[in-house]
Amino acid sequence: MKKYNFYLMLLFLSSLLSGCVETNILDKIGLTTIVGYDLGTEEKMEITAVIREVNPEFQSNVEIITTENDTSKGNRMKANRQLSKKITVGQMRVILFGEKLAKENLHYYIDLNLENANVSNGLYMAVVEDETAPLLNYEYKNIDDIGQHIFRLLEQNISQEYMISPTLHETAHDFYSIGRDIAMPIIKRNEEHIEMSGIALFKGGTMVSSLPVKDSFYVKLVRDSFNSGFFETNLKEEEMPPGLLKKPSSEIPIVFDAIRSKRELKLIDASTPEFDLNLKLKARVLEIYPDVNLGDPELVKKLEKTISKNLANEISRVIAHAQEVESDIFGFGEKYRSKVRNSELTKEKWHEMYKNMKVNVNIDFIILRNGVFE
């Protein structure tokens, strides 16, 4: 046993060495929660960072610093010169891009954040209408910590599936995928609030167009399967079957929730290419106006058909728009690559084919139930 005592001692002593490594004490660091990138006026990039400083005695303090430099780390150094605490990025939750910057190219910025091991792959990315600096620098009446606020705003909308999920991982995945393009939410300042105003469509690393926020439901339907969500649409008069309404009306707004959808995508012709998109939706009717009698099974069938037709039209419209700007945010290209052998697909090649792609949208809509009162 004596023989080992020496080693035991050494081992024990070396455990004390753990105190010698780099320390990050909460009181002495500034936690960056949001970083906003903009095109710089003089130098390459302008960065606005929302930094949360934790004070043990007082309330935490949120600092917003805007700097301009050629590199991101250069900006960090510049910001560091203005702060009493060391800046860290481990708690970064959201990365925002100014619209002008997004319209140039985000490739560099995606790689930048992937390279850094301190940056989590789960953070959200979004585009800001116009520029990020004014959005972050504005003093909102009811928002204490803008960093947390924007993060929560995105998080709750994404987890409830109102908005597409734009994590760093997914964004990078789509960027580096041959048959898929990036889509990100767009946010903007609306008086004293911050709101989501749309979806940005990208071609490669460049933002080429946007869709209104209402369309995020259709985009989500085509991209993935759905598990929750909530949706409102307007059925037009010409889509309505006769006899559905007691009183004729030009439009019926209708709201569903608890939507479950199953998406099935089939490549039926590789040369055009042509896809069959079969969507199976099950939902609960939450609100319908004016009164429609849902007790009659005949009428329910008719209503289901009408809704299916309406959804199919809307989805086709959204896909057509994305095709026009050559942005495959739905991942049709991935399907094509996985089905066609030795296609040797590249992103450019796919964008060429994507323009002429045909999609047949078939929707099978089932009304499960309405509320507890008919």
Binding site: K3, L11, L17, S120, N121, F175, Y176, S338, R341
Partner: protein, 367 residues
């Protein structure tokens, strides 16, 4: 036959422990980032390469066991001395010791690189390598039974990491795997060959064989251990292919660790930091076993005590880790080592097996 090793049963280990030894010797630093290397060759059929490589380990292990069974209770060093004579045999033994040395070195240096890249960029290499070496020296001086114990606990304590693969699966799409077998066969085999660096370690069987109590059960546990490794590699590869897109996987250096970077719990923001630190437990048996194997070879060549040997060995490794500083150097060591290891671990045992069989035939005819 001569030079066989006689041991008292108190120095021997049970056969079922071989499962842990083989498995823990295989899984080490390679698994942290093997995906992109295989993917470069085999594209989305990389998982087939993993299967092929797994199958190859079974075949090679079969040959190893057959060779060892001929000698009853002897290790590779004794067999080489017997077959090739003292001079050539000892030369080959020395080569094998060098191989163990380089394997040890490359595991250690790669792990240090991971720590420096992920968590402590400013921490000196010398510090990490000295602390790790101290633990290994401590384990080694305890003898084989301690080393095997380390293997056992390394497997048991790291079991919980495997189910963590479920989290990234939420973001995977099986489409990425299709069309199956689009890559041509030669690329798939090339990918399988690139697996060498990740999948080696089971050659420890050559050295540990005489220490197993129930020789008859060796086969079963060795193959089970290899199977477990193949299953783990296969699932990690499958999840990686479906989770990353083509371009992203090729650019991700430690794809397994990046897989974990998505996971966050309310009580733990960044899971992969824990995984990186915990990996020390996974590489520990790797290091201990290679060190032990090198020692077994050295005592056939020169008379040296274990303590003396381990200090000299560690000092050389320590100096080595200081010389190799950059990523490019480490990568080139990995590639070259992988190529050499392919011949030592996969080709040579089959060759040795054939010679042994030939020799057995000749001697039995004479007798």
């Amino acid at each position: 036959m001569k030079n066989s090793i006689r041991l008292s049963s108190k120095d021997m280990i049970n056969a079922y422990l071989l499962f842990f030894v083989i498995h823990s010797a295989q899984v080490g630093v390679g698994i942290q980032g093997f995906q992109r290397i295989i993917y470069q060759d085999a594209k989305h059929d990389a998982w087939i390469s993993v299967l092929v490589a797994g199958l190859a380990t079974h075949i090679v292990a079969f040959c190893m066991i057959k060779t060892l069974e001929v000698y009853g209770s002897n290790d590779l060093y004794g067999i080489q001395q017997d077959i090739f004579g003292i001079w050539i045999g000892n030369f080959l033994n020395a080569l094998y010791v060098v191989y163990c040395f380089i394997a040890f070195f490359s595991v250690l240096r790669n792990y240090i690189e991971v720590i420096q890249a992920w968590i402590f960029p400013n921490l000196g290499t010398w510090f990490l390598s000295a602390t790790l070496l101290l633990i290994i020296i401590y384990a080694f001086t305890g003898g084989l039974r301690v080393v095997v114990g380390v293997s056992f606990f390394s497997v048991i304590l790291a079991l919980w990491i495997f189910p963590m693969l479920i989290f990234p699966m939420k973001f995977s799409s099986s489409e990425a795997l299709f069309p199956i077998l689009e890559t041509n066969l030669s690329s798939i085999f090339k990918g399988a060959q690139s697996m060498t660096f990740t999948i080696i370690g089971f050659e420890i069987l050559n050295v540990i064989y005489p220490f197993i109590k129930e020789k008859k059960k060796v086969k079963k546990y060795v193959h089970l251990g290899l199977l477990a490794t193949t299953i783990i590699y296969l699932s990690v590869m499958m999840v990686s292919i479906t989770y990353y897109s083509e371009g992203k996987l090729l650019k991700t250096i430690w794809a397994t660790l990046t897989l974990f970077s998505f996971i966050s719990f309310p009580f733990m923001e960044r899971f992969e930091f824990v995984a990186v630190c915990f990996w020390m437990l996974i590489i520990l048996p790797n290091l201990c076993l290679y060190l032990w194997a090198a020692y077994r070879g050295t005592i056939r060549l020169v008379k040296i005590s274990g303590t003396k040997f381990v200090w000299i060995f560690s000092l050389l490794i320590f100096i080595g880790t200081l010389i190799v500083q950059t990523r490019t150097q480490i990568n080139s060591i990995n590639t070259h080592f992988g190529q050499i290891a392919f011949y030592i671990v996969f080709i040579y045992p089959i060759f040795l097996f054939m010679i042994t069989m030939l020799k057995k035939k000749i001697t039995s005819r004479k007798g």
